[in-house]
């Protein structure tokens, strides 16, 4: 697959020389990573941000109990932590994939 385009130089030299093409490569990498970051942080922030509001609007939720422990305590005391780790794991996997793809793209000859 690396012989598709018969260019003698790789895109890394475009990046080095800051040609317009090099800039396009860099901007697309940054934009992809930023979008991934915003998506991840936005999901977590949105979910967390909705919780106090949800407890305020639907007071009944606060009274729910799980094994004798009120729901807010279960959510905020235990469930959030594996949730955060899982989200972070997905993010790391995805971010590394983006970088692998980028490296493959710009090193192609």
């Amino acid at each position: 697959m690396w012989a598709v385009r018969a260019r003698r130089r790789t895109a890394t030299s475009d990046i080095d020389e800051q040609t317009r093409l090099g800039e396009v490569y860099m901007r697309s990498l940054i934009r992809t990573q930023l979008r991934l970051g915003l998506l991840t942080a936005g999901a977590v922030l949105g979910l967390f941000g909705a919780l106090p509001l949800l407890f305020l609007v639907v007071p009944g939720l606060r009274e729910l109990e799980l094994l004798g422990v009120p729901l807010p305590w279960v959510l905020l005391g235990v469930v959030v932590y594996p949730f955060l780790v899982g989200t972070a794991w997905l993010y790391v996997r995805q971010a590394e994939r983006v970088e692998r793809d980028f490296a493959e793209l710009v090193q192609r000859r």
Binding site: M26, G37, A88
Partner: protein, 585 residues
């Protein structure tokens, strides 16, 4: 509590800290060795070290104390402490490591090519560092006072001395080993006693925590007031008093009508069974039901306060000086991400436990609401709930863990503050040329002594509250600088300066009012006590608008810097020649 056992635990922690530090010690030759351990630290060590450094007195003692007093709303503190690392992971970890900077001011200079921004960043690092160190010293004083009756300055002095010895002898390298050890010590010290406490609670018939009333003394209770306190009595009660109340010596029965009373240090009050607990005036009494449910309890404007706090913790973590310096010890950007992931695991594991102390404290240590020393709940519970030698041993264990918390966080902050002081603020006195190890040592002493002095002079606020203020300042200054600096080319040096000054200035002013004048009432009080919700947006707005208005001030090398920040290390590309140790432009 058996004070000799607790003292032995404190001594053992201090000694272990110094010994492990010595084991990791290597002669510090260059700045790079000294600050960042030459980047040869493996990811697991590094993640443990970050956890060890991050879990301060606020996490070990403060969270449980807040849960004891105010209940479910306070669970946001540990959630925010942890989620801050997720935000750091997705926006900052890899690019910051790739920048090659050692400190936040390094990053500011590398990205914006401006010494002015660097200097302002340095001032903010020192400010945030001291704000964070202050409650560590105060908590150390409180802890030693609680377990041994030693004067308040003794605990703070002990921490200051151990930190000085450690940092002066080994720099970051030894600190990394110490920190990693401290994490596991803290986790063990907090988690192991919980099993015994829960068994004791079961054996007691598992009494419920919720109820219509404020907590009452379950049985006749003798309360020793170890520091002067003003208490609010709501229901009339007859107590046995020995000591001094409202400036008058008392001995024998004393009838307390509703109202507030100044109780002097050393006074012993004995309450009858069933009497509601009078609260210290800086705490708001909360009924059992309000305590158990979110947004009911205690503090005014709790919805605003909750949101603002969560915002400060989420976005403040990335701006804490001792957190960032750890990222430079990762070999590359990818490792920085993976390390952060492990950190999230370690923090989640730790924060499961403090809540349980706070909940059980509501039942077994309600007198702390009277003395106002709710931060001591982790320390006193094992001795009260588990009888005999077992309780004493567990008490000694949590005491050791608490000291590990003070030592690790203080060491990390000291290294960061001293590093910045050496490189930027004490430079005129250090001969001007290369950053010398001697200048670093002078800076270390300064970095420790200032907050130590402030801790002795300043008023006692809740540990987690003051730490929350440090987060707010960090979120309002460095967070916009990092986010915009890493992801937005058009950030200019003028914009960064304006934003840092606005956000950092406003948040600092709010913090000073809260610390000096004490928490105010009403909406202004809430806005000042939790400033992040308005200071962070203000800082971002100013940074963006001023940058857009000064397009000619964009850093000339920004394209190269962006390559440096974002290109994976496997690529052979030109990343510019900026290096923190050759920074004269």
């Amino acid at each position: 509590m058996n004070s000799s056992l607790a003292l032995a635990a404190v001594a053992a922690t201090a000694l272990a800290t110094v010994l492990i530090g010595a084991y990791g010690l290597r002669i510090a030759r260059t700045t790079s060795d000294f600050y960042v351990a030459s980047r040869t630290v493996s990811p697991w060590w590094n993640a443990s070290a970050i956890g060890g450094e991050y879990l301060s007195a606020a996490s070990f003692l403060g969270v449980a104390g807040l849960v004891l007093a105010y209940g479910s709303d306070m669970l946001w503190f540990p959630v925010g402490y942890t989620a801050g690392y997720l935000v750091l992971l997705v926006f900052v970890a890899a690019p910051l490591r790739r920048s090659g900077a050692y400190t936040l001011p390094d990053f500011a200079e590398a990205r914006l090519e401006s010494l002015a921004v660097r200097r302002l960043a340095s001032v903010l690092v020192v400010l945030i560092g001291w704000l964070y160190l202050l409650p560590q010293f105060q908590a150390a004083g409180l802890t030693l006072r609680t377990v041994t009756g030693a004067p308040v300055w003794a605990g703070a002095a002990l921490v200051a001395v151990v930190v000085l010895v450690n940092v002066l002898s080994g720099g970051m390298r030894s600190i990394t080993f110490v920190q990693a050890f401290q994490y596991w010590l803290k986790l063990t010290a907090l988690a192991v006693p919980v099993a015994f406490l829960l068994l004791a609670w079961q054996a007691d018939g598992a009494p419920p925590v919720r109820g219509d009333d404020v907590p009452a003394f379950p049985e006749t209770t003798r309360v020793e007031v170890t520091l002067d306190v003003t208490v609010e009595v709501v229901e009339p009660v007859v107590v046995q008093a020995e000591g001094s109340v409202d400036g008058e010596a008392v001995s024998g029965p004393l009838e307390l009508e509703p109202g507030s009373y100044d109780v002097a240090e050393g006074t012993v009050l004995t309450f009858p069974a069933g009497a509601p607990v009078p609260h210290a005036d800086r705490l708001t009494p909360v009924t059992g039901d309000a305590w158990a449910l979110p947004l009911e309890g205690g503090r005014e404007y709790s919805l605003y306060a909750t949101y603002s706090l969560v915002l400060a913790l989420f976005f403040g973590t990335m701006g804490l000086p001792h957190v960032l310096v750890r990222f430079y010890t990762n070999p590359d950007g990818r490792a920085a991400r993976r390390t952060t992931l492990v950190v999230l695991v370690l923090l989640g594991l730790f924060y499961l436990w403090p809540t349980i102390y706070g909940v059980l404290g509501r039942l077994y240590a309600p007198d702390l609401l009277l003395t106002g020393r709710t931060d001591a709940v982790v320390l006193v519970l094992p001795g009260r709930m588990v009888e005999g030698v077992g309780g004493e041993l567990l008490g000694a264990l949590v005491t050791a863990g608490a000291f590990a918390a003070f030592l690790s966080t203080s060491s990390g902050l000291t290294v960061s503050v001293a590093g910045v002081l050496t490189q930027d603020l004490l430079r005129p006195w250090s001969g001007g040329s290369a950053v010398s190890v001697r200048a670093f040592r002078v800076a270390t002493v300064v970095a420790v002594l200032v907050p130590f002095g402030l801790a002795l002079l300043g008023r006692q606020l809740g540990v987690a509250d003051v730490v929350g203020l440090a987060f707010a300042v960090a979120a309002s200054s460095f967070c916009p600088l990092l986010l915009l600096g890493i992801w937005w080319r058009r950030l200019t040096d003028v914009g960064a300066l304006a934003g840092l000054a606005t956000g950092g200035g406003l948040a600092t002013a709010a913090v000073l009012v809260t610390i000096v004048a004490g928490p105010l009432d009403g909406l202004p009080g809430a806005l000042l006590a939790q400033p992040a919700a308005w200071t962070l947006p203000a800082a971002v707005l100013v940074m963006v608008l001023v940058s857009l208005a000064t397009p000619r001030r964009m850093a000339p090398g920004v394209a190269r810097t962006m390559v440096r920040l974002h290109a994976p290390e496997v690529l052979d590309v030109d990343r510019g020649d900026w290096h923190p140790e050759r920074r004269v432009r």
